[in-house]
């Protein structure tokens, strides 16, 4: 083992010091259409296209990495990647730990999806992904919260009856409900949570945040961001 560590250390130390600005983009890869692993095994989705465009405008070389949602913030502050671009809504709690760029999607509603239309979302058992704004909302809404590590598991919980309904972003849930052949239906009123989705960066990384901020602003100004949102989330998605 010692030998392996030593050789890693030597390998790493002797590697060249050509430090091109490679920005590692951290995402979850399990939240279509925001981000997902496509059938070729690569990161794909709205945020892939957006991120590549932002990197081009900011003149950065970017590389995509996936990380589990649960440890996505600790790994950012520890420096394993440089941004979180994973459908992460801007909230005050998260803002205390990391910094956000300006939002690149407007605050869009979260909706409830259930197996039957007569579910009462204020008293029932509601599934949500762990450490999301939705799980925070369910916990304070009076309903019983059950948390799951991945978005997919929250849906499975509703289908097999473990939970009455699931609360998640409308962009994620609407295609699921539409393609379920009536098995899943949208119930209750939409709730507006968070301040839109932004790019998460380390608090000490002001330079990078400013670069992405400028790039997002330029995409907002020339309308390309709205085009991209409509492309991935449908014609009736909220735009800027």
């Amino acid at each position: 083992m010692k030998k392996i560590i030593m050789s890693v250390a030597i390998l790493a130390m002797s590697s060249s010091f050509a430090l091109a600005d490679t920005i590692r983009m951290g995402t979850e890869g399990a939240y279509p259409p925001y981000n997902f692993i496509n059938d070729a095994g690569e990161v794909d989705g709205f945020e892939r296209e957006l991120g590549d465009e932002l990197c081009k405008r900011a003149e950065l070389t970017c590389e995509w990495v996936t990380n589990e949602w649960d440890s996505i913030i600790p790994n950012l502050v520890s420096g394993n990647y440089d941004t979180i671009i994973a459908g992460m809504s801007i909230t005050d709690e998260r803002d205390e730990v990391i910094d956000f760029t300006q939002n690149y999607t407007p605050p869009s509603p979260s909706i409830y999806v259930a197996a039957s239309a007569d579910v009462d979302v204020t008293t029932g058992i509601i599934a949500a992904q762990t450490s999301t704004i939705q799980s925070g909302h369910v916990a304070s809404s009076g309903a019983t919260l059950v948390e799951f590590a991945t978005p997919d598991e929250t849906l499975a919980a509703v289908k097999n009856g473990e939970a009455d309904a699931v609360l998640a972003d409308v962009d994620f849930l609407r295609p699921v409900a539409e393609e379920s052949n009536g098995e899943l239906v949208i119930v209750g009123e939409p709730v507006f949570l968070g301040g839109g989705v932004g790019l998460g960066v380390r608090e000490s990384d002001n330079e990078l945040r400013d670069k992405f901020d400028a790039a997002i602003q330029s995409m907002k100004d020339d309308g390309t961001l709205n085009t991209m949102i409509t492309k991935w989330f449908g014609a009736d998605a909220y735009t800027f």
Binding site: A18, R24, E68, T150, D152, V176, E203
Partner: protein, 294 residues
Amino acid sequence: MFSFCAEPDILEGLQWVTCYLTTGKHFAFYASFGTVMLLLAVTAPVALLFGFGGATAARSTIAPLRWFGKGYTAIVRGIPDIAFFMFFVIALDQAFEFVRHKVLCPEWTDPIRQGNDFVVCSAAKLPLSSSPQWMHETYGFMLAVLTFAIVFGAFAANVLYGGMGAVPRGQLETAEAYGMSRRQTFWRILVPQMWIYALPGLSNLWMILIKATPLLFLLGVEDIVYWARELGGSKTQVFSYPHPDWRLYYFLGLLVFYLSLTKVSEIVLSNLTDKLSKGQATMGGESQRKAVAS
């Protein structure tokens, strides 16, 4: 992969299945079986080595070494695996980067800890941000091996410590009577005989290690359980091959894989037990003697 896979939407039946099972994502899934086997193949001997070191240290006559051995087993065995895997690895990674930062960037004056952030100069990053993704993955894999080895080494240390204690005192006394030194007694009498006593415990550890490999994903290594969950989850029209929740079938596949792995392990371990029982003053050794005599 095949030419007829170019347009997945119009495929049907067997062609669809063929194309579906040969996507890049599925190949990543198949490759991850190799990752798991490699992890087992590397971790098991390293953990055994850590365990042997820990057990030897715990028996040492030098007090600080003994404290180290006992402390290692007590601390690591007491910490929940998941906590260890979540925090120890990040801490280990930061420790490496901290050392490299001190060596490579002495002129750097900013603090390394800035609030929540851990900031080292870009030359000290491990691996460098500019290095290709496979280097990051290899590094992650090696951190995983090291962490697994430390955790399972602590359990192995306790098992081996017990195994060493179980070797009949008469054997060691005889060695001393023949004038062997402490070191000779240890290597020639104690170590060859302790394995039969340690084997049941070690085989347990091996089985647990096989089942613990899904913890790999906590370390950012994409293992078979990650891919099974990812591939099996229901897929909307955004994907080329939309399908409902198929996780059951993927997990059934994993079940077969894990059961065959444990079955093969059981066969190998029982052969090993037979071999090690030879001439031992144990039930196994006794029945072997009787079988030869009759």
